[in-house]
């Protein structure tokens, strides 16, 4: 018999499949009663090997691949990629195209922040908030659909410009939608800032000081809620942000309440920016000519995704395929903070803290390993095999 009593460790797994996470990620929280004493993160459940796959495809094929890194922020990924490739090829997209890129990026931000708002409300057990914010999110998704033809993967970018133009009717519908959303955002800001019960769950929870945010490398709204003035739109303006500057929204409290307020106030910046773009949309061409082969070189492109700074690194060897494409997503920077911040908090606060950084796991995880039911060991499929698999599958269905 072992006489020495080891303190029992009680581990609560959150994920890969868990109601608190809409995407697969695994967090193991060791708890002592209700208090979290240790946190471990494990990723890769949605790893698709996109970086590797990008090396096997041409520059144009890659654009379609990159757009599928993330469902929520598909535009900003494609935008970062296009800007980086344009930089390498010494091509600059025309002003009208750049303005439309920013317009879609900001609409995407609105869509993403509304989505986040609902999810966080749900984590807090405030389902009414969740339902209402997602209802309003439909409006911005409809705008995006009207604009680009898609609700999620907008596919607005091409190398050297954008695919579509705006007409008067679309402009009018965007304006109407923005007015509606601005009013709603004002209401939600009021709710998160004054609702007593909601404040009980956000005020003073998951506090990250400025020094912590800096040392943990937090980015985006998470960093800005801790008073770190880090916004790529402001620091290193890309696309049309030079002509359409934004203000950085800062908050010094660093808790969940601050994260809510920063994101909601950012929405007002987005509304303002969208109106300004619609007012002063430059005329001209939509695309610039792009060579098929990109000169050898390296490019680093940083853009501000809804969740924070997104970094693309591309090395070209002068062929029609990239030599290396690296994607550094904002969530990977912010995850460190979740693991550190959760310690000492109640288990009930953990989903809130996790949601507070607006995690996006499919962004994070980027090989294709397919497990088929008749092949329990799992196998790796090459692109051609995968394609053949798809064709066979649908042929079988037709029979």
């Amino acid at each position: 018999m072992n006489t020495k009593q080891e303190p029992q460790r009680f581990v609560i797994p959150i994920g890969p499949q868990h109601p608190a996470l809409k995407e697969p990620g695994n967090f193991q929280f060791t708890v002592d009663g209700e208090i979290v004493t240790k946190a471990i993160v494990r990723l890769g459940y949605a790893h698709r090997g996109i970086e590797k796959a990008a090396e096997e495809r041409t520059w144009i094929q890659d654009l379609y691949l990159i757009e599928r890194v993330c469902g929520i922020c598909s535009h900003i990924h494609a935008l970062a990629y296009c800007l980086a490739v344009e930089q390498l090829a010494h091509v600059e997209a025309p002003p009208r195209a750049q303005a439309i890129r920013v317009l879609v990026a900001e609409l995407e931000r609105i869509h993403s922040h509304f989505l986040w708002m609902g999810v966080s409300g749900h984590e807090a057990g405030f389902d009414t908030f969740f339902m209402y914010s997602w209802r309003d999110r439909e409006r911005v998704m409809n705008i995006l659909e009207k604009l680009t033809g898609n609700r999620v993967n907008y596919s607005a970018n091409v190398l050297g410009g954008v695919k579509f133009d705006l007409d008067q009717e679309q402009i009018a519908s965007i304006r109407g939608g923005i007015d509606f959303l601005e009013e709603r955002t004002r209401h939600y800001l009021d709710v998160v800032a004054t609702d007593f019960m909601f404040l009980q769950r956000t005020r003073g929870i998951g506090v990250m000081s400025r020094a912590q945010a800096e040392i943990m490398g937090a980015v985006g709204p998470t960093a800005r809620a801790s008073n770190v003035a880090r916004d790529v739109r402001k620091d290193a303006p890309y696309a049309a942000y030079k002509e359409y500057p934004v203000d950085i929204i800062l908050d010094e409290r660093g808790d969940l309440e601050a994260r809510f307020e920063v994101r909601l106030k950012e929405l007002f910046e987005s509304f303002h920016l969208i109106r300004k773009i619609l007012d002063t949309l430059p005329g001209g061409e939509l695309t610039a000519r792009m060579p098929r082969k990109v000169p050898a070189g390296e490019a680093v492109m940083r853009v501000e995704a809804p969740r924070g700074e997104l970094l693309y690194f591309i090395r070209s060897n002068g062929s029609d395929k990239p030599e290396r494409l690296k994607i550094r997503t904002p969530t990977i920077c912010n995850l460190t903070s979740v693991v550190k911040l959760a310690i000492g908090h109640q288990l009930a606060d953990v989903p809130m803290i996790l949601a507070g950084i607006d995690p996006c796991f499919s962004c994070n995880d980027r090989s294709v390993q397919i497990r088929t039911s008749n092949d329990p060991d799992g196998r790796m499929l090459s692109w051609d095999e995968l394609r053949q698999h798809g064709i066979d599958f649908y042929k079988r269905l037709e029979k």
Partner: protein, 305 residues
């Protein structure tokens, strides 16, 4: 022929089937109205019945290393507790089937049986979510139970009887919500805690611990727990409205008053954010219990001849 009527009152009306049907109807009202408040479509009218039938015909999986007798027995005890409690309560505005002096205490204990069974059911399994859920359920029992009990005893004190039918008759002439508003508020909020409704749904907060104490339950056991909850909803509503909303003298009064009370509950559910378990306990012991005790003091002082 006497045993026939006894059996009838236990199995069909006002106990048994009637309670189950009524409970499901109220559950539907609760779900539907909550959905309407949240801008959703909500379930169709037969959804609670469909859920129950589905669960009843589903395979019940008994996990390893649990006490099987407890695992099967607890849901039955919970449902039996709720159904028995209904016999002493003027459900549907009719005179209770059984009545004896002091039945109020028995009823309140029988109503607690559900939460207790849920806590034990969670503690019986080895699942991590269940264990945390069980801890939270039992913590919650200890926080709301005392204030709720005190709030229900307030009307008993003024009616001078601990028999539910007497209090009901007394309340018919006095709207106690006016004279004992604190008691009413505590009773309503305590009742929400009893039924684990939002914002007191920390024991089954699914974004944290899955389904809480009942995570390992499927099939019959889960159906019984759900039914017990539905029955408890209707019994509790009758009890609170009989005591505080001017008594229940006939079925129409019952329908109007309990539904009105249910609407209040639905409004609170849709407006409030879930409280953490420490916040729930803190609220009850720091404020809830104290205000009820203060009201008691006032009642005793006023009533003293």
């Amino acid at each position: 022929m006497n045993w026939f009527f006894v059996l009838l009152s236990l199995m069909v009306f006002p106990g048994g089937l009637f309670l189950l049907a009524g409970g499901m109807a109220y559950e539907w009202v609760d779900r539907k109205m909550l959905a309407v408040f949240q801008n959703r479509a909500g379930p169709r009218w037969f959804q609670p019945l469909a859920d129950t039938v589905k669960l009843l015909i589903k395979e019940e999986i008994i996990p390893d290393k649990v006490n099987e007798i407890l695992f099967i027995g607890l849901p039955i005890a919970a449902l039996a507790g709720g159904l028995t409690a209904a016999l002493y309560v003027p459900v549907a505005g009719l005179t209770p089937v059984y009545s004896f002096p002091g039945d109020l205490i028995v009823t309140l204990y029988l109503l607690s049986l559900l939460t207790l069974c849920m806590g034990l059911a969670g503690a019986n399994t080895l699942d991590r979510f269940s264990l945390i859920g069980a801890t939270r359920t039992l913590t919650q029992v200890f926080s709301y139970e005392a204030p709720f009990l005190l709030a229900m005893l307030g009307p008993a004190l003024v009616a001078g009887s601990w028999q539910i039918s007497d209090i009901n008759a007394y309340a018919g002439g006095h709207w106690l919500i006016l004279t004992q508003p604190v008691g009413f508020i505590v009773a309503v909020i305590g009742f929400m805690g009893k039924l684990v409704m939002p914002p007191f749904d920390a024991p089954e907060a699914h974004t944290e611990i899955g389904a809480g104490a009942l995570t390992e339950y499927s099939g019959r056991g889960l159906a019984f727990f759900h039914l017990a909850k539905a029955v408890e909803l209707i019994v509790g509503l009758s009890l609170v409205s009989a005591f505080y909303l001017g008594g229940l003298a006939n079925p129409l009064e019952f329908l109007v008053k309990t539904l009105a009370l249910l609407f209040v509950l639905i409004g609170l559910q849709s407006l409030l954010t879930r409280m953490r378990i420490d916040q729930t306990v803190g609220m009850w012991w720091r404020y809830g219990t104290l205000v009820v005790l203060a009201q008691w003091l006032v009642i005793i002082l006023v009533m003293r001849p």
